[in-house]
Subunit: 345 residues, 2 copies
């Protein structure tokens, strides 16, 4: 596909760009009144997710309203457990709940790879609905959860600060944990390949619960599965983002990905040094900075840009947008990135 | 005071020790049937907290049952907001809730330093109840929450994964945030000095929510208050422990403390290199390792010990004990530390 603006793709591939590209994790969401209207129309988060026309609408809203350099598919990382056979409900205010979580080897019998692709048909239909609305203005980013993060939810059955049950299984029954991680990995590869086939120009893996592991457990229970996915996907650039995964940057850098996303717990210059010059970096403004006055937002954004430098870099937050941020503050962040003059270019 | 076993004090002060001392964060707690019995007798967590005799009993239980090298005062970090005038309730299963959180400058009017010491009298009475039970077998550790962590709860009004409201206040009203942090700091100094006066031989500050900040915000909203406390307390060794604070180790190392506690997100050798030789290090076994088979516990504990080395080191977990851990597994951890032979000593 030819895009009017393909700056983000060029940055991901390591080509020089005339300016730094910018988008925001969770840019399609509650901060926009337009999103809240569409969601009200759908009735609930899950109905919105499963309605390809409405999901396509909210995917494109931030491109129209905020002027970001990419759209990201409106979906949820938990569509994968559901496609494997494990149902979940979205409890408004409380987050996802799986009425039946995976507790033992027997429970793996509930899961099957056979129907993953067909059960995710509504997502692929959403992508097809996005194209005419996006009209090749900017690339569409597809995504999935990292296997470790999906595993966490499937074992724990809900969100948690510590995911003790999931970590308990890695300690008590590592072979069983790895069997499930393999299954999630295979489903994710099927899912991402098809997203790309349907027209996603880039894909991102979100390892939202990387931070409950340590260096050696992350190397054992997350990295090998990310590696398998990166080695299987050649069709589009891949971004890996782990929240709380600063300790694993060197390991992530060994993987076959184009871009590594970093959270706000690391200084840009330190991230650049540790990741090196062969990967693009994405991140990492503290999402809370967008609560500040506009001059603080401009100053902190400029500091971030100067820290990462003009090349191999995609500007973003260090995690998803908080839902009560003023959309005008988001616009100031985006404008600051777009108009920034680097001192030494 | 003279202790039968003062190995932990000597390690904190940087003196040579015949073996590595060991205790566990949250060692007095739900893992012990003896604790659960005492708590049932008290009725609730807060009744237990406010009952000096029963609180003293659970403080000493792990010394009797597990053979740790220190007792830690059974209390709660949220006694400080309460002593300042902000009531909280402990909602079983959900954690602490403040019916009225701090939302504006006006709300600071609810708080006062004047009664802090007298309102905490039940804690000091607990310490006095502990002495005859502990009988100078091992030192007693006192503690408080770090000002940043206490601030988080006072603004947010409850636990949170992201503490957005607290971070929003640092961004929107930094001067107000600092005024409250100063007040918490002053209360904490009063509290810790009196704990030591009553006979605590060491004190630890818990910065449980360090990890919601980044390097520059931690340097602005946590470090200066930790520094003020460390500079004010000369009477006993101080340990600083920040969860998710790996990014701040260099800053923490500049403070007037004896020991820095590290979580399980860092390799022991990396921690040692970054912290240097002038501080004792405490930590950092992944608490989930205690779910594993005993041979895995032994192996991982030995790996940790060899990583930190025999000097300036206090063995502990990288965070508090999970309540459903088998007490026998805790004993194996402790025995492994006590009997470990270092290869190059």
């Amino acid at each position: 596909m030819n895009y009017s603006n393909d700056i983000i793709l060029r940055a991901a591939k390591g080509e020089e760009t005339e300016r730094v590209p910018v988008w925001l994790m969770r840019q399609a969401g509650r901060i926009l009144p337009e999103y809240r209207a569409t969601r009200a129309q759908a009735g609930s988060f899950k109905s919105l997710l499963k309605n390809p026309e409405l999901a396509a609408e909210v995917t494109v809203q931030p491109v129209d309203i905020l002027g970001v350099d990419a759209a990201i598919l409106f979906s949820d990382i938990l569509v994968i457990p559901e496609a494997l056979g494990l149902q979940y409900e979205m409890d408004e205010g409380k987050g996802p709940v799986f009425p039946k979580a995976i507790e033992s080897r027997n429970d793996l019998g509930m899961l099957s790879l056979a129907d993953v692709e067909s059960r995710l048909d509504y997502v692929f239909q959403t992508i097809r609905e996005i194209h005419p609305r996006l009209n090749q203005r900017v690339p569409l980013i597809g995504f999935a959860g990292a296997p470790w993060t999906i595993f966490c939810y499937m074992i724990e059955g809900k969100g948690s600060k510590t995911f003790q049950k999931a970590r308990e299984m890695t300690m008590r029954e590592p072979a069983l944990a790895k069997q499930l991680l393999d299954m999630i990995t295979d489903a994710t590869i099927i899912y991402l390949k098809r997203q790309i086939q349907e027209g996603c120009a880039m894909v991102q893996l979100f390892d939202s619960w990387a931070g409950v592991l340590g260096p050696s457990t992350y190397a054992e229970f997350s990295i090998p599965y990310l590696r398998k996915i990166c080695d299987a996907i050649h069709e589009a650039p891949i971004t890996l983002f782990g929240l709380g995964a600063s300790f694993a940057l060197e390991d992530l850098t060994t993987l076959n990905c184009n871009t590594i996303g970093v959270d706000w717990h690391i200084q840009p210059k330190v991230a650049r040094t540790r990741i090196g010059k062969d990967k693009t970096i994405q991140g990492n403004l503290d999402p809370a900075v967008l609560y500040a006055d506009v001059d603080v937002i401009r100053k902190e954004t400029a500091r971030m840009l100067d820290g990462f430098g003009p090349n191999r870099y995609i500007a973003n937050l260090g995690h998803g947008l908080y839902p009560d941020i003023n959309p005008n503050h988001v616009k100031i962040f985006i404008e600051t990135v777009k108009s920034h003059q680097f001192s030494h270019t």
